[in-house]
Symmetry: C3
Subunit: 211 residues, 3 copies
Amino acid sequence: MPDYLITPDILLYVFDMMGIIACAIAGTLLAQHKGFDIAGCILVSMANAIGGGTLRDMALDRHPLFWMTDLSYVLVITLTSLILQIFFHLYHKIDTAVKVFDAIGLAAFSVIGFKVALAQGALPVIAVMMGVWTAIIGGMMRDIICNEIPMVLQKEIYITASMAGSLVYLCLDHLGMDTGMNDFIMLGVIFAVRMLAIRYDWHLPSIRLVK
Amino acid sequence: MPDYLITPDILLYVFDMMGIIACAIAGTLLAQHKGFDIAGCILVSMANAIGGGTLRDMALDRHPLFWMTDLSYVLVITLTSLILQIFFHLYHKIDTAVKVFDAIGLAAFSVIGFKVALAQGALPVIAVMMGVWTAIIGGMMRDIICNEIPMVLQKEIYITASMAGSLVYLCLDHLGMDTGMNDFIMLGVIFAVRMLAIRYDWHLPSIRLVK
Amino acid sequence: MPDYLITPDILLYVFDMMGIIACAIAGTLLAQHKGFDIAGCILVSMANAIGGGTLRDMALDRHPLFWMTDLSYVLVITLTSLILQIFFHLYHKIDTAVKVFDAIGLAAFSVIGFKVALAQGALPVIAVMMGVWTAIIGGMMRDIICNEIPMVLQKEIYITASMAGSLVYLCLDHLGMDTGMNDFIMLGVIFAVRMLAIRYDWHLPSIRLVK
C-alpha cells in the first residue's frame, strides 16, 4: 500500500508500543509498591510487557522471539520504567492516559497474538486463545512475581474483550471482509468493549447458584 | 490390534480425559473460591489440566503442542468448568468421583509424559522426570496463579507415585515385558499407590533430624 | 589447549557445579521451611538450580536442554538436597560457604547464559539479558513456588553484578581481549561485585523522589 502514509501494519506497531508503555508503567508501579530496586522494577516491567508474547512464541515454536530481533521493545520498556521511577510523583497526572494506553495495548496485543497464531497455521479456536494469552499473561506474570492474585482473572473485562474481538474477526472474515480493514475492526471492538467496561463498571459475574 | 475393541491407546486416551476432567474441576473449584469470574475460572482450569503437558512439550521441543491439534482438550476443559460453575451446589455429590478421577489422571498423565519423553529420545532418568512434570506441574500452576503454596509438594504422595510407576516400567521393560501390557501395569501401579495413599493417609515425611 | 590441565571450559564447569550446589541448598532450605516433603524439596531445588538455564534454552530454541544430555546436573541437585535434608542440623556450619558458592554460581551462570546466547547468534543486548535470566530466574522460580516475593528483585546486588560482568566482557572484547581470558575476567568481576555487596551491604536503591 505505497499510496498511504500510515499502513495498517504501522498503526498496529504504534498501538503495540502504546500497550508496551502501559504494561511497563503498570509493572513498575506494582514493583515499586513492593519495594523492588531499580533493576527489579525493570525486570517486572519486562515480564508485564513482553511475557505474554514470549510464551505465545514459545508455544507456537516461533523463533527468534519477537523482542530478540527488534530491540525497540527492550529499549522502550527500560526507558519507560526508568522515567517513571525518577518522576514517580507525576504519576497521578497520567493516570487516565495509562488506562487508555492499557486498553489500546489489550487490543493491539490480542490482534497480534491472534494473527501470529493464524500465520503459524494454528486452528481458529487456538488463535483466539493465543490472542488472549498475548494480552493477559504478561499481567499475570507481573502479579505472580509480586505475589498478588492476578487481577485480570478477577472481575474485570479483559479475557472477554479479547475473545469478542477475535470472534468478530472470524465472522467478518467468513463473510469476505478485507483483512486490513478487519484488523482495524478487531482493534476497535476490543478497545470499545474494554473502555465501556471501565466507564460503566461492567463485570463478568462469577456463576454460583448456591453457595 | 484390530481384533480388540479397546486398544491400550484408546484406554489411555479415555484415562487421559478423565484426568483432564478432574484437573478442570480442581482448577474451577479453587478459582471460584478465590472469586475469579467465568473466564478466569476456565483459564485456571486450563492451566491445571494442560499446563504440565504444555511445559513438557516445550522442554522436549515437541510441536505443535498436543492440545493445538486435538481440540477435545480445550473443549472438555471449557465444558467441565462451565457445567461445574453452573451446578456448583451439586459438587459434594461428586467429591469421591473427583478423587478417583484425579488418581486416574495422575496415572495417565505420568504414563503419557514418560512415554512421550522416551519417544523423543530422552534418557530414562529424564523420562521419569517428564512423567512427574506432566502429572504435577499443572496443579502447581493452578496453585501459583491462585497464590497458594503448591499442594503436590507438601505431604501428599503424588511425585512418589508417578516415579514408582516409571521405575516399575523400566524394570519390567528391561526384563522383556510387552510394551502394551507394561503401559497397563504402570497405570495400575500409580493409581494403586495414589489410592492407597488416600485410603491409609500415607505421607512422604520431611526429613529433619534436628529442628 | 592440551598443554594445560585446567582449561577455561573445565574451570567454568566446576564453577557451574558449585553454583548448582548453592542453588540446591537454597532451594532445599526454603522448601523445608515451608514444610515440603522429600520429593517436594528436591523439586524446588531443581527449579532453583536449573530453572533459569531451562527458560534460557527454551527462549533461544536450544534443544535438547542442557540437563537432558548431561545427567550430572540432576544427580548433583538430588544428592545435595538429600544430604542437606538428612544433615539439616549441620547447616549453620556451612552458612558462609554457601554464600561464597552462591556468588560463584551467580558468576558462572551469568557467563554461561551470556556466552550461550552469543553462540546462538543473539544480539549483545539480548545476551546480557540472557546472562541475567540464567543467573536469577531459578531463584525467582523457587520463591514463586514457595509463595514468597523474589529476593533477587529486592535490595540485593544480583542483576547489577551480572550486567556489570557482561558489559566489561563486551568492552574488553571490543578492545581485542582473548576470549578465554575474557571469560575469567567476567567471572571475576561478577564474583567481586557480589562479594563486595555482601561485605559492605551494598544495595541498589529504589528511586522514589516523592512518596
